[in-house]
Amino acid sequence: MKISIGCDHIVTDLKNHLVDYLTDKGHEVIDNGTYDNERTHYPIYGKKTAEKVSSGEADLGIVVCGTGVGISVSANKVKGIRAALVRDIETARYAKKQLNANVLAMGGRITGAGVIEETIDTFLETKYEETEESKKLIEKIESIPMNEELIGDEQYFDEFIEKWNNGGYPAN
């Protein structure tokens, strides 16, 4: 499978481990960064990782940050993405099977690497089983109006980064 992956600077080591883990299993991995431990901002990587999935370039996405929340919310705000933030294998199984979730999110400060690996395995192996109920639910989700301008726009966050670089946000 082709997997799009992303993280923030808190869990870069975990993301690198997962890239190796997935590659060893024969998957092709698109690593959207971040690539080091320098302070950065999770929405950049949540958006990048999700866009590869919504465009069809990747089959599924995996995002990690400290709790998994920030990067999963960012991924979920891309049209067509259903990002499942989970702390256990069964919720990941359900999210794929019944919600056809296409991005899996976990927190590297919350969940250990053994559980994360097995949750990823389960998420990749589980097939979506369409029912009338699941179809209706996904259609309802798709019907929520979404801003599509942001897709592929690499300058989308520039205003904030400029403000950050000019000391417009506190550093603490």
Partner: protein, 142 residues
Amino acid sequence: MKIAIASDENGLQLKNHLKAHLEKQGYDVSDATSNQSLDLFDAATEVAKVISNKEADRAIMIDEYGVGSSIVANKYKGIICANVADEHSAEMTVRHNSTKIITLGSGIVGNKLAEKICEAFIKADYDGGRHQIRVDMVNKMC
């Protein structure tokens, strides 16, 4: 602080348990899905509305796995919602992400753990500071 609580049918029992628990602790809790049988989409949409309209400061939404409701709520502009199953996430997501809605899975977390997750969520305050750039970025999206 005003707290809204909601659920679909699968989350009804845990919702009632948590509402009673939080009220016993002195919190002002209003049921956003009382006397209604909503699916998780409609219940999560209701919760997003309650938070967008500032009718409550924080909201808790329960379905069987939590994850479906969080996907729905996060599709609405300005909403930051976290599906949580542990106290530490409940606290940190308020402090760092300015999260105002959490979702819980009634099939995943037991009553005692759910109580503590809700308490940690309600007691936490947003840290602000450097975290604001990320919140600004997320709020520009969708």
